[in-house]
């Protein structure tokens, strides 16, 4: 499945400055694996040593925060947009 991945500013050093790159995979886990093979090292910034999404990273597949969905097993349908965003708050 082909998807687009929005890259936060702090990870754009890996993508040559690109804010959005194309990705591929049936699930979020597959998309992140492919992303890391395209841009070596980026995966370890998003996932911790045990392979879980770092606690200060929010990942969205479409409009949904994947922590509400199936985490790394969330399906990544054709054409969907995936966003990787640092967690911040303070209303």
């Amino acid at each position: 499945m082909s998807v687009s991945v929005r890259i936060p500013t702090i990870l754009r050093t890996y993508t040559g400055g690109n804010a959005e790159v194309s990705g591929e995979g049936a699930t979020l886990r597959d998309v992140l694996a492919k992303l890391d093979s395209d841009y070596p090292g980026i995966g370890a910034r998003i996932l911790d040593e045990s392979g879980k999404i770092r606690r200060f990273v929010n990942v969205y597949v479409g409009e949904e925060d994947v922590r509400f969905a199936q985490g790394l097993d969330t399906p990544a349908p054709e054409g969907t947009q995936i966003s990787i965003i640092p967690a911040v708050a303070g209303g």
Binding site: R45, I46, D48, F56, V88
Partner: protein, 410 residues
């Protein structure tokens, strides 16, 4: 560009400790952890603070601001009353209770404290526009501070906010954009806008200026300690939205101890949430050290952050200090607003109903020591959330202007 952040010397990652130069950055490149200001305080004396202005700027030597900050156009928030709440204490069975009443700030919430620090950061970085994602109070604090400082403002709120908060955010000028969605969706939107050319030279107070902004909440800790006669309270009840305020009050207490400004005495930190948005309370009760996000549904809209970024730190602090995190229903929030108003003459917004309601629950469940000195925070003004009490807060009677008619009402 020459930067002047007073005693602040660097940004450091709260997760992994990586250090960065002072800049408009908020997330660690190594691990995405939140960046916070690191300082070289030098020698800070009580007398220097006591001779300062009656605002947060009396603590300027403990904040990431230039020494001449008080002479610049800003809102001069803080130094709000610490009210000895004997009546409320008696009603709840507490021996010594104080209400730190932050409704008296310039735009009637504690947010003026944090925004004032963010304004100095925006000036330092040469930003022309002040922005934020807001649950309401912050939007008004930002647009007011921008007007005073001569900056443009463009703020983002969930479209379904209370009318008073919308009016308060709009009246100061600037652009107010309602987003169809929850606060968490507004927050996500701002995080994406920040990486876009449209957001260039914008200071998002709670995103790219967050390491500075968040430090403003330390002033609540400083003021409470100074107002108690340079002493830490034994117990404190703090509302949780993102968890930033609670985290920074703890940081402030620890700094006062380290600098020798107060004695090193134990204190317990209690967090308060509304049941309709209680991800931190739920994680605390379940024994978890991470927070599962929720979709908020509560009248305490200023606390309605379903994905609280500082939630893990709140859990750490509550457990480290021997406190707890508790939640109350919307009905308990309304009852607590009325209790605080009728015992102490303080009209709190719904967030204040949450803290007072949780205080009551903590006493009733034996989680809080009724003999120990306790401070409860009210962070906003009841006039902004009138709907919460309006149904019951009606005239006792409506009569003709005659003594007989009045006598009949008694």
């Amino acid at each position: 560009m020459s930067l002047d952040f007073g005693p602040a010397t660097a940004l450091s990652c709260r997760e992994c400790g990586a250090r960065y130069p002072l800049g408009p950055n908020f997330a660690c490149v190594e691990c995405f952890g939140p960046l916070e200001a690191a300082y070289d305080f030098g020698d800070v004396k009580r007398s220097d603070i006591e001779s300062g202005p009656a605002s947060i700027w009396r603590y300027r030597s403990l904040l990431p601001v230039p020494a001449d900050v008080a002479s610049k156009p800003n809102m001069n928030p803080g130094w709000t009353p610490l009210v000895k709440a004997g009546n409320l204490g008696r009603a709840l069975g507490l021996k010594s209770l104080y209400v730190k009443d932050d409704s008296g700030n310039p735009t009637h919430s504690f947010k003026d404290r944090v925004v004032a620090i963010a304004v100095e950061a925006a000036r330092n970085f040469g930003f022309h526009t002040l922005s934020c994602s807001s649950t309401g109070n912050l939007a008004g604090a930002v647009t007011a501070a921008a007007a005073r400082a001569g900056l443009d403002a463009c703020v983002f709120i969930p479209a379904g906010l209370e009318q008073a908060k919308i009016a308060m955010a709009r009246v100061f000028g600037g652009r107010l954009i309602g987003i169809e969605g929850t606060y968490d969706e507004v927050n996500r939107f701002c995080s994406e806008l920040i990486g876009d050319p449209m957001g260039d030279k914008w200071g998002f107070v709670n995103v790219n200026l967050r390491p500075y902004y968040a430090e403003g909440s330390k002033t609540l800790a400083y003021e409470i300690a100074e107002q108690l006669g340079w002493r830490l309270p034994e117990q404190i009840v703090i509302p949780i939205a993102s968890g930033s305020q609670l985290t920074k009050i703890d940081k402030g207490f620890k700094e006062l101890i380290r600098l020798g400004l107060v004695d090193d005495a134990p204190y317990k930190v209690f967090g308060a949430q509304a049941l309709g948005c209680s991800p931190v309370s739920a994680a605390y009760k379940a024994g978890h050290d991470v927070v599962q996000p929720v979709k908020p549904d509560t009248i305490a809209k200023s606390l309605a952050i379903g994905n609280p970024a500082d939630g893990p730190y709140v859990l750490d602090i509550a457990r480290r200090t021997g406190g707890a995190v508790e939640d109350v229903t919307d009905a308990e929030i309304v009852a607590a607003i009325k209790l605080l108003a009728s015992t102490e003459g303080i009209f709190a917004e719904t967030a204040g109903g949450v803290t007072v309601g949780v205080l009551k629950k903590l006493v009733e469940t034996g989680q809080l020591d009724p003999e120990a000195e306790t401070v409860v925070l009210n962070t906003g003004d009841g006039l902004k959330t009138l709907d919460a009490v309006a149904a019951d807060a009606q005239p006792t009677a409506v009569i003709r202007p005659s003594l007989d008619a009045f006598r009949a009402t008694v």
